[in-house]
Amino acid sequence: MPIDSFRWLPGAIGAYYRGLPLQKVEPIPWTPLAKPIEECRFALVTTAGLYMKDRDPSFDLDGERRNPFWGDPTYRVIPREARQEQIGVAHLHINPADLLADVNVALPVQRFLEMEAAGKIGSLAPSSYSFMGYQPDNSEWEKRYAPEVARRMKEEGVDAAFLTPT
């Protein structure tokens, strides 16, 4: 059964998203997996609005409150050593309760460390990344921040990225 992508949304909002004109840009980029999963280094990417509370600023939610047609396009680095209690959630479009209880529902750092220990993946990279998913205009992502994250991944020898939008 195909998944109904709009099932969780209130009717009017679902209808709005369903009606958006979308353009598929070809060709879709393609990088064949270079090596067996058991040898790959992974980085995680989520759009859950996560940040390291003691080290980094939150996402700019006040800016979004002033202009609801704008969402903070920056990103935060989440290190592999991050513990649950160090992680904050800044995202005005979801209930953050489960992320604050178990961040692995969207950024599975513990699960990837377990797979690393079990030899099921090569390793989890030092850095994973969180964006904040409300982006009415994603041109800053495309031109600036996604290329920056991709470059950092290359510097850390990442082979594959596991992405979890919220």
Binding site: A12, Q23, A160, T164
Partner: protein, 122 residues
């Protein structure tokens, strides 16, 4: 998220997305994705459910390994119980700024129509 995957893939890093909205992965075109019938904020399943999270991650890694080419989107069969409760539960306690603003505009338009009968569509 499709744009993030495309930019990362383009520098030579293989990507896979786990998304509650496979519609957009299909319409915009992404290298590889799996769709989940899970509420927003829960791409890998329930908080505290390690087995469920591992199952979804395993499917993601399988598609990462086996996808024959760009635009591979697989819909996973896992269900999310208690749909009616979770249709509210995933949402923030307060409506987001854009939802609050659009609701306000719709309310204002409805009031205008009431005040001026010539604006009624019937």
């Amino acid at each position: 998220m499709p744009v993030l995957a495309r930019v990362i893939e383009a520098v030579g890093i293989s990507t896979v997305i786990v998304t509650p909205m496979p519609y957009f992965a299909e319409a915009l075109g992404v290298p590889r994705a799996v769709g989940v019938a899970f509420p927003f904020g829960h791409p890998l399943g329930h908080a505290g459910d390690r087995d469920e999270q591992m199952k979804v991650i395993g499917d993601g890694l399988r598609v990462l390994r086996e996808a024959p080419g760009p635009g591979t989107v697989e819909h996973l069969p896992y269900e999310w119980p208690d749909f009616e409760r979770w249709k509210r539960e995933w949402q923030p306690a307060e409506p987001s700024p854009i939802v609050a603003l659009l609701r306000e505009r719709m309310r204002a338009q409805a009031e205008e129509r009431r005040a001026d009968p010539s604006l009624r569509s019937e």
